[in-house]
Symmetry: C2
Subunit: 302 residues, 2 copies
Amino acid sequence: MSLIVTGSIGIDSIESPAGNVDNVLGGSAIYFAAAASFFSPVRLVAAVGEDFPAAFLEDFRHFNVDLAGLEQRQGSKTFRWRGRYHTNMNHRDTVSVELNVLAEKLPPVPGKYQDSEYIFLANTHPAGQIELLEQFPQRKLAVADTMDLWINNEKPTLLKLLQRVDGLVLNNDEAEMLAGDSNVIKAAARITELGPKFVVVKKGEHGVFVTHGGAKIVLPAWPAEAVVDPTGAGDSFAGGMMGYLASTGDLSANGLRKAMACGTIAASFNIESFSLGRLKQISRADIDARLREFSQMLRLDN
Amino acid sequence: MSLIVTGSIGIDSIESPAGNVDNVLGGSAIYFAAAASFFSPVRLVAAVGEDFPAAFLEDFRHFNVDLAGLEQRQGSKTFRWRGRYHTNMNHRDTVSVELNVLAEKLPPVPGKYQDSEYIFLANTHPAGQIELLEQFPQRKLAVADTMDLWINNEKPTLLKLLQRVDGLVLNNDEAEMLAGDSNVIKAAARITELGPKFVVVKKGEHGVFVTHGGAKIVLPAWPAEAVVDPTGAGDSFAGGMMGYLASTGDLSANGLRKAMACGTIAASFNIESFSLGRLKQISRADIDARLREFSQMLRLDN
């Protein structure tokens, strides 16, 4: 079943306790698509500038991602981000950011993508997310990511988006901010009252909490010892999650729980290297092996 | 199999967003013993002062706890603690503390308790923990709790204790402090090199991580919406854990994982009220029902 992601492609520079890299491939759509592609073919809609290295594109062809929706815009520059992680890897500072092409008009959705059924709207201005969403009339599942910037500054538009999506993905601070409740369980429940059928609260190294109808899903993160770079953890989580849902079509609470495990494991590989280094080394078999181990770790009834 | 706890009994006053209480029954040994008693009979060794209300004792007889080791010391005063929780319930301030009887000599261990096999040394000065431990020559499993105060000020004595116990229970900040590593997985592994066969890292609302030989156990917390008072969460967790281990004698990694689930569920009930209010209302059947629900929430292979 057809899965599409719209989001950012970036040229990232990262400082982490595990080392520093300059000008590597990043962005929400990139991490999402790479992770999702282990489960399902992925269509990608995003824009880069004329400065975007051809080598990045070649490299990315490793993954099962249709790049017909990738626009290289002449006269524009690619989104750039520099971030710095602190000792415990849980917090980061944005050292510098250049929106560049992200501040311009949205990339066009190719006609052949309009039959997409599984839609992931990576984090961007909610007005853009609504505009993109409406280009997929055959959607079966639409899920959006968001961030504190839009919660604080564009709440009316964000609330309109929430009326239109099936699921929302956000981190725990954002969930508490959006709902005005410091208990994440209550916050997620309140957000479902704003529209989405399910809310996925990402808690980083502490795992994930989901509310879906009356059901609650809670999973720990994979116990990772060797965290090199958490950049893209949330996006690769969402990729694993949506890839699983698109590949099975199982939108029950049980399906969603398995999707959370797929997201957890995709993210656990992603953070083992800078950029897509680790995801390029592994296969679906590696993901399945870790999924089995994770499942065994959580079995309480044997 | 015989389970014993040595620790504090306190008269607590608590300010929480859910309300305030003054002069209620608390202390590590009390919360531990109440929680453990759902799984196994418990022996308790602790001291109170002559000000200790007789009504507290009567009330506590509700639980399956042998109080022959409870010393009411004439001329002494009971440990008192006043704490304040903030909006998100994750952090608390100690408003005032009076050690009183806790600063005096340890309570004697009754002769009939010397055959105890499962020993839990609730948090106190590590020299006292060692002294108590040595009074149980038939021990099969000795587990200690500790805190930042001893890690910072009594490290040589704490290291001696670690050579003598099978397991250590501590929270994530303490684990990082003791091991000098901000990754909790690595920190726990390093602590096992100091002596204990297993290390249980309590992460509060984020669940628990355990390293046991090479095996890792990771469980989320029960998704609690109605947190009234987190006081005693860690002690009731340890009580559920040790109660399960004492009742089954299963010290394998699999047994330890189930013990963590029992601790998680015991703590989840405890935080639903001040003092022992909620634990007094429930039965083993309530714990088992929530355990089944928790197990189902974590099943990924069905």
